[in-house]
């Protein structure tokens, strides 16, 4: 199939999406929740200067954050490669930082770094480094042993291995990470702008959400989507040009499933100590103001020993319960629908050719930036929040599960075909087991994403739960409560991630043991 022929179903899918959007906008014209293509185009034309300036600011912040975050990721991956004993520390610390709630880190960075673009850039960097670090660490280690033997057979060491083999062998994995990181940087910059910036698309989003300007919100969401898709596609094209093949799909992180129960507990304990040491040490080294920059003992006092500790714990507990009510159904619905849609697309390949390119494109969209639209459409209650979380989880799950379903071993499928087994039986006995590792990988990576989605919606619209609590405590300068919330959200996110990773390790041990050996 030529490239243009392969693109035809994708173009048709996008046209259908466009037509559906137009029809929906016409049908719901009275409700004032959907702006059609003409309204959006009209608004963009009328506000080209405003939107152009905002886009330039957000793009610049995202680009600098993208660069800084990825350089940090490459550096960390290099450190973990040269000193393998540091792998657990590097990946664990990176995970904890990845699980920090951007909604809270935004305001904290703003008071620490002052006005200007620095907080948005840092948030963009924080949003990207993990998505690059994990594939790169995997890629640098996934080198076949025989290639390394070749280098060693000429008496060369680790540096020659890195230069001649690992660096190039890891390149496809680096591109796979960069491809996901590009939209993530845009998302990070926008979330940073949500939290008190002066310029940028995020600032406009806040302004138009408050004034209920539907056309403007649709225009900004579509612009953000377009930018993300272009960045995603451009890095994919660059990868194809450089690599001559597609970037791989990364499922398992390095070191997953290694170590027994006791070893894991020791690693977890060491990680907690490391996080506390880095947190405390960095604040003391930078001599940050204690009013804004709370140290571990301050948070401990706020939650356990201080006079308001009971009230703080009560507020946190109530917020966690409120958030969980939205988070869990949305998360599970996103996983279930993503896996279900993937199965349907494999059973109906004609439909897959139409939908898959659209789904891959939509995966690159920073869904959080569409939060105001979804809540506008479905209301500020449970439906809107749960839907947003589900959408955030749905697309990565769909793409990962489709990849997993297609990894089903051809020879085993041939065996089933020789017994004239139908597609359903093949699905049940061969494809579904092959899909499980991908499903669990998506479930793991979706944990922080789902928490980000729910806290953003709570903050922007519903006024409940952890997102609202963090925003409120930031605006009232209640930094004890804000830092306590950061610790709680980060701990929940990290523990849930680790719990899913443990389940995933059990699944991989059975269904994809080769991924455990990387």
């Amino acid at each position: 199939m030529t490239r243009s022929a392969a693109l035809a179903p994708a173009a048709l899918g996008l046209m259908l999406l466009f037509a559906g959007w137009s029809l929906l906008a016409m049908a719901l014209a009275d409700t004032r929740v959907i702006a059609g293509p003409i309204q959006v185009a009209g608004w963009l034309a009328g506000n080209a200067g405003l939107i152009g300036r905002a886009l330039a600011v957000t793009l610049t912040n995202a680009a600098i954050g993208f660069l800084a975050g990825n350089l940090a990721a490459i550096l960390l991956a290099g450190i973990a490669l040269v000193w393998p004993r540091l792998t657990h520390a590097v990946s664990g610390l990176a995970l904890v930082v990845f699980c920090l709630p951007l909604i809270a880190t935004g305001p904290i960075l703003r008071v620490l770094l002052g006005p200007g673009e620095a907080p948005q850039i840092v948030l963009a960097a924080l949003a990207v480094y993990y998505t690059t670090l994990i594939p790169l660490m995997t890629g640098l280690r996934a080198t076949p042993a025989v290639w390394l033997d070749l280098v060693r057979s000429y008496g060369r060491g680790r540096l020659a291995e890195l230069i001649h083999v690992r660096a190039r062998a890891g390149l496809p994995y680096l591109f796979a990470g960069l491809q996901i990181a590009a939209p993530a940087a845009f998302l990070g910059a926008m979330v940073g702008e949500f939290t008190g910036a002066e310029r940028g698309l995020g600032v406009l989003t806040i302004r138009f959400t408050r004034s209920m300007d539907v056309s403007a919100l649709w225009a900004i969401a579509l612009l953000a989507a377009a930018v993300s898709m272009v960045a995603y596609g451009a890095i994919g094209a660059l990868a194809r040009a450089v690599l001559h093949d597609r970037p791989p799909v990364i499922l398992a992180p390095p070191g997953i499933g290694t170590g027994a129960g006791f070893g894991r507990a020791v690693h977890a304990a060491l990680l907690v100590v490391l996080v506390l040491a880095v947190w405390w040490g960095a604040m003391e080294a930078l001599d940050l103001n204690r009013f804004f920059a709370k140290r571990p003992p301050d948070v401990l006092a706020a939650m356990i020993r201080g006079p308001d500790a009971a009230a703080t714990r009560g507020a946190l507990f109530e917020a966690v319960a409120e958030t969980a009510v939205f988070l869990l159904p949305g998360y599970l619905a996103g996983l279930g629908l993503g896996a279900g849609m993937a199965i349907l697309l494999v059973l109906l390949p004609g439909l897959a050719a139409l939908i898959l390119p659209v789904a891959v494109a939509l995966r690159s969209i920073p869904i959080v930036t569409t939060a105001p639209l979804i809540v506008l459409f479905l209301g500020r209650g449970a439906a809107g929040t749960i839907t947003l979380v589900a959408v955030m989880v749905f697309f990565p799950t769909l793409v990962a599960c489709l990849h997993g379903l297609r990894q089903a071993p051809g020879q085993i499928l041939d065996v089933f075909q020789t017994y004239a087994s139908g597609p359903l039986r093949q699905m049940l006995h061969v494809r579904l087991p092959a899909m499980l590792p991908a499903l669990f990988a998506a479930a793991r990576m979706s944990v922080p994403a789902a928490i980000l989605a729910v806290t953003v919606v709570e903050w922007l619209t519903t006024g409940r739960g952890l997102g609202s609590l963090m925003a409120l405590s930031a605006s009232t300068s209640n930094y004890n409560l804000l830092w306590a919330a950061v610790v709680v959200v980060t701990a929940i996110s990290t523990i849930c991630y680790a719990a899913v990773a443990m389940l995933e390790a059990r699944i991989l041990a059975i269904y994809a043991p080769e991924q455990m050996r990387r």
Partner: protein
């Protein structure tokens, strides 16, 4: 060849043994000397430890007992001199490099100056004319093996270690490679160790056959191959060739029989 020609590269294994983690003994302590400039075939059943023995000689595995000396130096010292080349069972070509790039890489790794003419000659000698700019994915199994052997020869090594280099190709290609490739290293006096489980291949290529028992590898028989070099394809039809093959086959069977009671235990 390394920057300066080395002394006679006899390979001396003294009480050389290897026990892997978990107590799996791959090579029982052996005393063996592989004479400089000769080709020795290590033959034995699958999994008997012959590849481990080759890796020990290359210094890619550390022995748990004994030692290897090549012209008085350790394998690591010889590797640093660029004196050793290994052609692995898996051609292990880097997929992002062309055939030319893969062959030239060996000289780079061995810290030898680029020699485009030698690379081109080797491409021609292994019959890959017209494929110099082709990446490994577009080559057949036999072509990849040829490229891997050309790469191993690109440094003009004193020691050439071949680990079932024709293992992944069909029988016809295997026989063709076994005929065509030895003239590339034999006239240079390269000390060559060949691991194979094919008796035909061993007799066709080697001056000496070392027959190994099932794991742990022990020397069952040491057979000289006094056949003329180069060896034409029809040599396999001669009584001398058949006699040697029968002798090696009998030694293999003897090794199996000796180890059977141990395996049962």
């Amino acid at each position: 060849m390394p920057a300066e020609p080395g002394p006679r590269a006899d390979i001396v294994c003294h009480r050389l043994g290897k026990v892997f983690a978990g107590g799996i003994e791959a090579v029982a302590p052996v005393d063996l000397t592989f004479e400089a400039g000769r080709t020795t075939a290590l033959i034995g059943p699958s999994g008997c430890g012959k590849s481990t023995l080759l890796r020990l000689v290359a210094g890619l595995e550390d022995p748990t007992s004994g030692q290897v000396r090549i012209a008085g130096l350790t394998p690591a010292e010889q590797r640093r001199r660029g004196a050793i080349s290994v052609a692995f069972q898996d051609p292990s070509l880097l997929p992002w490099l062309t055939v030319r790039g893969n062959i030239a890489l060996a000289r780079k790794l061995a810290r030898q100056s680029p020699d485009p003419r030698l690379v081109e000659d080797l491409i021609g000698l292994v019959g890959l004319d017209g494929f110099a700019e082709t990446r490994p994915a577009a080559l057949s199994g036999g072509m990849r093996q040829r490229a891997a052997i050309a790469r191993a020869l690109a440094t003009r090594p004193d020691i050439l270690l071949l680990d079932e280099p024709f293992g992944a190709v069909d029988e016809l290609t295997r026989q063709q490679l076994a005929r065509e490739l030895p003239p590339l290293w034999q006239p240079r006096g390269t000390t060559t160790l060949l691991v194979t489980h094919s008796i035909h291949e061993a007799v066709m290529l080697a001056d000496r056959l070392v027959v190994l028992s099932p794991r742990p590898a022990r020397v069952v028989s040491d057979i000289a191959v006094p056949l003329p070099v180069p060896r034409p394809a029809d040599l396999a039809e001669t009584p001398e060739f058949r006699a040697l093959a029968t002798r090696a086959s009998a030694a293999l069977a003897l090794g199996n029989a000796r180890n059977a009671p141990m395996a049962a235990q």
